[in-house]
């Protein structure tokens, strides 16, 4: 079994790599690559994402064949993929950070800025917040409702298909912080920075 972290030169993925390697403990191969051929043959894919929605989509598209490869992996092969932060946001049809940008369209919906209610809520939403688990998700095995996770973002994913929502968190409103749709998993929070609970989520994904 191998888990492949997509390195598409968008932001800092060292923490993601370190956490997956820690959990894998040399028993499972963790690949880090932008090589489309290698991603094609992966058993599981992790799609991180930092920076803006637009910069991440642009970076994905700048690698020849990568978007097609990911589409095939998720939609045809139906293999498990975990999106983290902007990695999750890109599941949407469209994002509005910087400018209107088309997303991957795997889970219909949009990505919009968190309403700061005229300055009542500081943005980015940085720090530890509790998650409200709204449906049993495979990656939440042994994760307690109201667990603390580390967040850092200013935009939120608003899916039209509410059944895809697996957890929400309270900041300005109850916004979506985890999704699961068949083989597609995503977390708005950073499991790689969420201490032991976060590592457990990574462990759950690796052992799906």
């Amino acid at each position: 079994m191998n888990v492949t972290i997509v390195d598409y030169k968008s932001g800092n993925i060292s923490s993601v790599i370190n956490s997956f390697k820690e959990v894998a403990d040399n028993k499972i191969i963790i690949e880090v690559t932008s090589d489309v051929g290698k991603i094609k043959s992966a058993d599981k894919v992790v799609l991180p994402g930092q920076g803006s929605f637009k910069s991440c989509v642009d970076a994905l598209q700048s690698i020849n064949g990568l978007v097609d490869c990911l589409n095939d992996f998720v939609m045809n092969k139906k293999k498990p993929l975990l999106g983290i932060c902007v990695g999750l946001q890109m599941f949407a049809d469209v994002g509005y950070e910087e400018s209107e940008t088309k997303g991957l369209g795997w889970i219909s919906g949009k990505v919009t800025k968190i309403d700061n209610q005229n300055g009542k809520y500081k943005l980015p939403h940085i720090g530890w917040n509790q998650i409200n688990i709204v449906k049993g998700s495979k990656i939440f095995k042994d994760i307690k409702d109201k667990s603390h996770m580390y967040f850092v973002h200013s935009y939120e994913f608003v899916p039209t298909d509410k059944n895809s929502i697996s957890a929400t968190t309270d900041y300005s409103s109850k916004h979506v912080c985890a999704v699961e749709k068949e083989n597609i998993f995503g977390t708005q929070f950073h499991p790689e920075k969420s201490d032991k609970t976060g590592l457990k989520i990574i462990d759950n994904f690796i052992n799906l």
Partner: protein, 251 residues
């Protein structure tokens, strides 16, 4: 509900901790990885390294420290001290820092903040402001507090937000090392002026100071060094105290 964060700060020089925990039975009190791990296991919400390496030839030591720490600590790691350029930020992030704090370089040239936040995202750019009271204003100091830029701290804070900073780490130079508490007025004035989170720093001597920093200073996070290093309080005790005062913390 978003929790207020407690951030222990470790001073690192030439790759070794010079101001850090000195009360527990450490195998190697100078090992940054071991110290960071003790704090993260003890419930610290984030770890901050301040690199105070003076000589240029030893500057690279911080990269190794960050790399080793990020392999063992799975809470956010903020690194500051001597960060001069987008390239420095890039190197720190690649080594596993989650956030980089910029001080002097941001005062000298705000383009570093603009460029780095565009390149890496605001979420990893912290601007550190060292401020000292002068009359009814505060002025921004650089070079570890040695030089007065003469710039108004409140206006500067706003400018840094507009330049793309994701957070502000505000240290009162008047209070730093005094243990008499944060400069609450400075914190609350800056926090009210900007819409990004503020980390309060400088002057913590007891747990009530942490409470004041959050309640009156309107800080999202509180940074402290000596009260934790010298065993006066543990992070856990600090959190219990904050919770008893109605402040939401991660427990």
């Amino acid at each position: 509900m978003l929790k207020n964060r407690i951030i222990p700060c470790l001073d690192v020089k030439n790759g070794r901790v010079v101001k850090g925990i000195n009360f527990v039975d450490l195998k190697d009190a100078g090992d940054p990885v071991e110290q960071a791990k003790i704090y993260s296991d003890g419930g610290a919400d984030e770890i901050c390294f301040l690199d105070i390496t003076a000589s240029n030839e030893n500057r690279d030591t911080i990269y190794e420290v960050v790399e080793n720490t990020s392999k063992k600590c799975f809470v956010p790691l903020t690194v500051g001290g001597g960060v001069r350029s987008v390239d420095d930020i890039n190197k720190l992030l690649n080594c596993g820092a989650d956030k980089v704090s910029i001080n002097t370089a941001a005062v000298e040239n705000s383009k570093v903040v603009v460029d780095s936040s565009k390149k890496f995202g605001s979420q990893c750019i912290v601007v550190a402001i060292d401020a000292k009271k002068k009359g009814d204003k505060w002025e921004v100091f650089t070079h570890g507090g040695r030089n007065n830029s003469g710039i108004d701290a409140l206006e500067y804070a706003k400018k840094m937000e507009d330049s793309g900073a994701g957070e502000l780490l505000v240290t009162s130079m008047d209070r730093d090392g005094t243990q008499v508490g944060y400069d609450i007025e400075l914190m609350s004035r800056i926090s009210s002026k900007v819409n990004i989170p503020l980390i309060a720093s400088g002057g913590v001597g007891n747990l009530d100071h942490l409470v004041e920093g959050i309640k009156s200073g309107k800080a999202s996070a509180v940074l402290a060094a000596s009260i934790f290093h010298y065993g006066k309080y543990s992070v856990k005790e600090a959190k219990q105290y904050l919770e008893s005062k109605g402040i939401p913390v991660r427990t």
